[in-house]
């Protein structure tokens, strides 16, 4: 059995003994996942958030199977007339719109866009923001200066107008919306991670790692990063919510992806059909769906925030 020589990091992880480095990495990652889950388990509200998120994710994956009708298909009543503007009923749980399309199916199919935008944006924002924060905080000096100046400048650009203008200029499409979101959202994560790295840099275990000859890369990614991960995940959960809200806002203003249904787009179509005053059900359902998903993101984010700042823990 190979002796474990690497220093123990603060999260209490030891490198698992094993044959080759890849196996050890896999074991370590699985251990981290179990550890993260146990963090969430401690806070019941965070667990609720995770359950809701997983539920919506499953709905999105199985959407074509779950939706009772084709969202684009005009439905007819039993007597043959088009089912226009029908309030919620047994046949149509969320009612129908002005073209007779089932809103329940629209909301279910719309969850795909929400989950896609949310997860991809959250991942990109966490990836970019965490790396910028790590590099900026660890190296300091002129690299830190330049990166922080760039972050400050990005703070000066208003978020939604930039997204709308970018999408209006280079064309509406899911990828362009995600691009606009990611280009601006990484700034908060970077700032916060950098602050955390600055405090971690002074700790004894980093000194120990440096003395035992670890390279900069190893120190950053093997020792510092696992300790800022809870904060990254907190901001990831928060940015997932923001991304979904932004996509909904851009779609509501009319610049959503023309080929896909998203929750914001459903409300946009109601607004354009000038049916808001007559068809409250058309607007209520997608809005509640957005609220549910974003709220679950906030719950998860709060749970991680409590890990980083123990004083916030309930009793």
């Amino acid at each position: 059995m190979k002796k474990n020589l690497s220093p123990e990091s603060e999260s209490g992880h030891r490198s698992p003994p094993g044959r080759n480095p890849w196996y050890r990495w896999l074991k370590r990652t699985a251990g981290t996942a179990k550890f993260q889950l146990s963090l969430l388990w401690r806070d019941k509200i965070g667990m609720i958030g995770l359950i809701i998120l997983v539920a919506i994710f499953l709905v999105a994956v199985f959407a074509p199977v779950l939706a009772p009708h084709d969202p684009m298909e005009t439905m007819t009543r039993p007597d043959g007339r088009i089912a226009r503007m029908v309030p919620p009923s047994w046949q149509f749980p969320f009612g129908t719109d002005r073209l007779g399309r089932d809103i329940f199916s629209q909301v279910i199919i719309g969850s795909r866009v929400a989950v896609f935008v949310g997860l991809i944006s959250a991942f990109m924002v966490v990836f970019i923001g965490t790396n910028v924060g790590l590099i900026s905080g660890y190296y300091g000096g002129i690299i830190d200066d330049i990166l922080m100046r760039i972050t400050d400048i990005v703070y000066g650009i208003p978020f939604l107008p930039f997204a709308v203008i970018l999408v209006a200029l280079i064309g509406p499409g899911l990828f362009n919306i995600i691009l606009a979101i990611v280009l601006i959202s990484w700034r908060s994560t970077a700032r916060v991670i950098r602050a955390q790295v600055l405090t971690l840099k002074q700790r004894a275990f980093i000194e120990a790692a440096r003395v035992s000859g670890a390279s900069n890369f190893r120190i950053i990614y093997r020792h510092i990063m696992p300790n800022v991960l809870p904060l990254s995940f907190a901001y990831g959960a928060l940015s997932m919510g923001t991304a979904i809200l932004t996509e909904a806002s851009v779609s509501f203003l009319g610049y959503g992806d023309p080929l896909l249904i998203s929750w914001g787009k459903i409300i946009f179509m109601c607004y354009v059909a000038q049916a808001i005053t007559v068809a409250w059900w058309w607007v209520l359902a997608p809005g509640l769906a957005i609220m549910l998903v974003v709220m679950s993101g906030f719950f998860i984010g709060r749970a991680y925030e409590q890990v980083v700042n123990p004083r916030l823990r309930e009793r």
């Binding site: 650009i157 939604l160 203008i165 607004y271």
Partner: protein, 323 residues
């Protein structure tokens, strides 16, 4: 302190410059003829050539860039394709409308958030705290335009308490700027959009205030104040809250970028005649000079307000001013 102000000021100018440059290059990546951005294709050919010359669109890119910077600095934004009037003259009234609504929303959000956050921290673990937490998070999670639409449906259409949007009752004449904004009708129109916006943006300062208060409440001087026998609300507001306010002010500058986005949505839903709504309409009408100018002005608002809040923060916490 003076060095700090000068440094921030120079940074502000640089950010303005970057914003203008970003705008310049963004509008150049549009596929097709970029001169369509500045010159209305519907006007006669000679007039088009004159405008091309004025905006330097027949010169190399470097020249165009410098001419664009000079024009922007002098406030020369071109002529609106839709209104057929100089953009620089159209902007000020819209700017005032936007600033009034945004100012109201941010003030309400911060005052309510700070006060409620303080109360939440004081009554730790009570039902009040949990219900406030749940409510503010719920409103922060619901899309702002949706909350606005619901509010309009319930309070304006059904209960008829508030007008259905807009800034004034249509068909009114005003003697001047003061008369236009300082009347009861304007207030009546202002209430619903500002409340909707405030509820949305309230969550962040409230939670930060609560967290900050939790830290301050553990300090010795609070123990001392309580031991002195001071009333609860005196300790809460006069001693604890003042010290807990600092992190909340940091959040202020973060929020301003988002508040502008909220402005765009609220102005669209409530038909408030401001810069945000104008930008969206201008893009829809392909009125590019207006769209560029609106976006630029929104960015300018964010940058200047960020500068002011940085100064405020430097005043409140002098430690920040030492580099």
């Amino acid at each position: 302190m003076r060095a700090y102000v000068i440094r921030r000021f120079i940074q502000m100018l640089f950010t303005l410059y970057v914003l203008a440059s970003v705008l310049f290059f963004m509008f150049r990546i549009v596929p097709g003829d970029p001169t369509l951005m500045y010159v209305d294709a519907a006007i006669p050919k000679e007039a088009q050539l004159v405008m091309l010359e004025q905006f330097g669109l027949n010169r190399p890119l470097g020249h165009q860039y410098l001419l664009y910077l000079k024009n922007t600095f002098q406030g020369e934004f071109g002529t609106s394709f839709y209104y057929h009037a100089p953009v620089a003259r159209l902007i000020p009234p819209m700017l005032i409308s936007t600033l009034l609504l945004m100012g109201t929303i941010i003030t309400l959000a911060f005052v309510l958030g700070a006060v409620l956050g303080t109360l939440m921290a004081w009554r730790r673990g009570s039902r009040f705290e949990l219900s406030m937490l749940a409510t503010s998070l719920a409103f922060r999670s619901a899309p702002l335009f949706w909350t606005g639409i619901m509010a309009l449906l319930v309070f304006s259409y059904t209960m008829k308490w508030f007008p259905i949007g807009g800034m004034h009752t249509p068909g009114q004449e005003f003697a001047g700027v003061l008369d236009k904004y300082f009347n009861l009708d304007f207030l009546h129109h202002l209430i619903l959009p500002s409340l909707v916006g405030a509820i949305y943006f309230m969550a962040s300062p409230m939670l930060i205030m609560r967290n900050s208060m939790l830290e301050v409440m553990g300090e010795d001087f609070i123990e001392m104040a309580k031991a002195k026998g001071l009333k609860d609300h005196t300790v809460m507001f006069k001693h604890a809250m003042r010290n807990a306010l600092l992190p909340v002010v940091t959040v202020l500058s973060l929020m301003i970028g988002f508040a502008i986005g909220g402005q765009v949505l609220l102005e669209t839903v409530f038909r408030w005649p401001g810069m945000g709504r104008e930008m969206v309409l201008a893009i829809q009408r392909f009125d590019y000079p207006m769209a560029q100018a609106s976006f630029f002005m929104l960015g300018v608002i964010v940058i200047i307000l960020n500068f002011i809040t940085d100064l405020l923060y430097g005043y409140l916490d002098p430690r920040v001013t030492y580099r």
